[in-house]
Symmetry: C3
Subunit: 309 residues, 3 copies
Amino acid sequence: MVKRFKQRDIISIRHFNKEELLYILDLTKRMEQMDYTDILKGKVLASLFFEPSTRTRLSFESAMQKLGGIIIGFADSGITSVAKGESLSDSIRIIEGYCDIIVLRHYLEGSAQLAADIAEIPVINAGDGANQHPTQTFLDLYTIQKTKGTLEGLTVGFLGDLKYGRTVHSLAYALAYFGAEMFFISPASLRMPRDCIEELRNRTVTCHESDSLSGISRKLDVIYCTRIQKERFADPVEYEKVRGIYRLNKALLEEMGIKNNLKILHPLPRVDEMDESLDRTNYAVYFHQARNGIPIRKAVLSAVLGAIE
Amino acid sequence: MVKRFKQRDIISIRHFNKEELLYILDLTKRMEQMDYTDILKGKVLASLFFEPSTRTRLSFESAMQKLGGIIIGFADSGITSVAKGESLSDSIRIIEGYCDIIVLRHYLEGSAQLAADIAEIPVINAGDGANQHPTQTFLDLYTIQKTKGTLEGLTVGFLGDLKYGRTVHSLAYALAYFGAEMFFISPASLRMPRDCIEELRNRTVTCHESDSLSGISRKLDVIYCTRIQKERFADPVEYEKVRGIYRLNKALLEEMGIKNNLKILHPLPRVDEMDESLDRTNYAVYFHQARNGIPIRKAVLSAVLGAIE
Amino acid sequence: MVKRFKQRDIISIRHFNKEELLYILDLTKRMEQMDYTDILKGKVLASLFFEPSTRTRLSFESAMQKLGGIIIGFADSGITSVAKGESLSDSIRIIEGYCDIIVLRHYLEGSAQLAADIAEIPVINAGDGANQHPTQTFLDLYTIQKTKGTLEGLTVGFLGDLKYGRTVHSLAYALAYFGAEMFFISPASLRMPRDCIEELRNRTVTCHESDSLSGISRKLDVIYCTRIQKERFADPVEYEKVRGIYRLNKALLEEMGIKNNLKILHPLPRVDEMDESLDRTNYAVYFHQARNGIPIRKAVLSAVLGAIE
């Protein structure tokens, strides 16, 4: 059953069932196929970024304005009243008086839910610390659906930092609706959290864990890479070692054996975990993935603001 | 007599007589009642914030765009040519070539008047140091008028930092047109400046001063609170003492005795001078007050840009 | 021959021949004479400023929006994924998916060309380090053409920092198409680079070099001043000496003898190299020059986005 999206908060991927995910992906496709200029005319989006972002902020702001909407907001909390000691609750209560919808990126887990509880207008979580970033998962799903032709029954490898990578946890959660088999490939210190694995298994997902792609790569329909952050390692030598292992390049991948129609995703930014030799291959869909941010965010904004059914 | 607002600079509350204040409040009411989409189409507002602001900047930018106008500007002087040593005069002379109206927040007293003297287009002062912020006073007046039904003959208490609080000085100045009786409640070190009190008395306002609300609270129609800033105190112990005394909460207020229809205003941001127990009461109008920033700024922009009479 | 401007990158003044320069100046004139509201409706400009700018950024953003277009972007690289180690190439590849045209200011020479090579959409260089800023040169040319009535056969003095001043190099290059005679007046340590002089002479420009205006001033139709930056001098005493010599004021100029219709340009910001006594004279056209940023940028955006022929 698809709950109404109109006036709905978009906080966590866990608030959406399979039908709702498919509904959003279907709206997104319509956004790519047709021109919906001016359906959000006069509507105001407050784009509140307490943390840096390029992709998410710019794609929300482009999507909103392409549909005729208006943007207010900030890209940096240093220029706000937070500097004067204002609580997030008070900021939200005030700003909701100036707009029709809030997009919030904040460094604290739970901040988006807090904002949604306070505001009478809808709040979209654009990342709350290491927790949730649901429109990123929507666009990951959309990219897989579009480039693989289906979401059903795929074999998906997750590679890199699986411990802290919020995009991985959310995407794995969502793909569990679609009968995916999952391989989790990471250094021992950055493995998938135990409760995530357990939950996936309870939902009858076949999960495998490993510290290397070798022997696995040829089974995968999709590889979802993430950035391994230096800050996660106490010992820089350990970091350098791990980083080398999880760096993908075209020659290495083809040598290990992969399916012809393998697709590689990455939430970006990357640092050096994917070699540029991959960029021009048919495997690489990460730039295409980033661009799907526009139709996905058009779909979410239109649905939540009640401009489309 | 109401002077024409078209092309007029909005620099200080002192430049407006009673009729002009009522005219702006009347325009504001019309802005709340009707939709004036597109009356500022093609007009450009330069939003120049040399100091942080959430409320003022976002409400100006929302108001302008809701009326069809365009925004350029900055929210932080670090990203401007000021960093290269450019004078404010030169910045204004250049930027006025790109826009139809300037909204200026600057840390120096007198900066808005300087900008207005230089620019041929109208300038709105959105705060010049500790000096003036006239659209804040308009919205304070509008909030009182709307929630009390009238501006005439009210008994108003000002609470907190009355020495440095520019909003208090301006609001007291404006309310003197309307026969208010005023109570000024503050720690001794943060009393209303002597010249303000003197001027109010010369304008036949009955002024009282005190260091506590007790015995006074039951007389008040309106309490206007302000934030007491730690930086104002040489001695942190002194600050902690004072802060406790001027912290309002529901139980305390009701215990002291208050009118049923007391309204509490605050220019926000608050830190902890008003307890959250007040937020859901009928006394608290501060969030409503902040929201009045939209119709007030719509009214001022439309009037000054000659889009409405 | 005028190459199509539609979808063309605007990277360096060197990519434009005389006819193309005149074509842009002609479009600019049309932009001043007529109202082209909405010809860029629905188009998105990504305004990517990795370095501070007031004039360039605000004039691009005003021009784009006055023509009905949309802005996304940032004014400060601190708030982007660059902080997470993302390469410029990746940023461009992603952002081009969100917009129709990119305006880039970046501190590295060659960055704009790099961006243009990567992006499939057009890129406008809004300054790449000390290298190129072609729309600045367009507006310098337009200002000279408009205030002198012609670009042909003028005697032009360049004054100040001729070594590092990218605007000087570009303007001299462009004026060489129009038979200008050029005087380069600077301290010895900040002379025009040898290869610039040599190239101009090869293009049959009569070039003179000098360390003072005296004896020259009466010959000039145009003086193009630039800021002398303190950072260029190892010895602050040397800086103070030089700075005094190259500071223009009205009395000094008239005493030395100048043509009645001399026009003084400056790319701004100035610090103190032009005295305010000049501002109200007919010689000073620098504020007018800054304002020409609007029609110039309207012309460039419209031409490159194919909205005008």
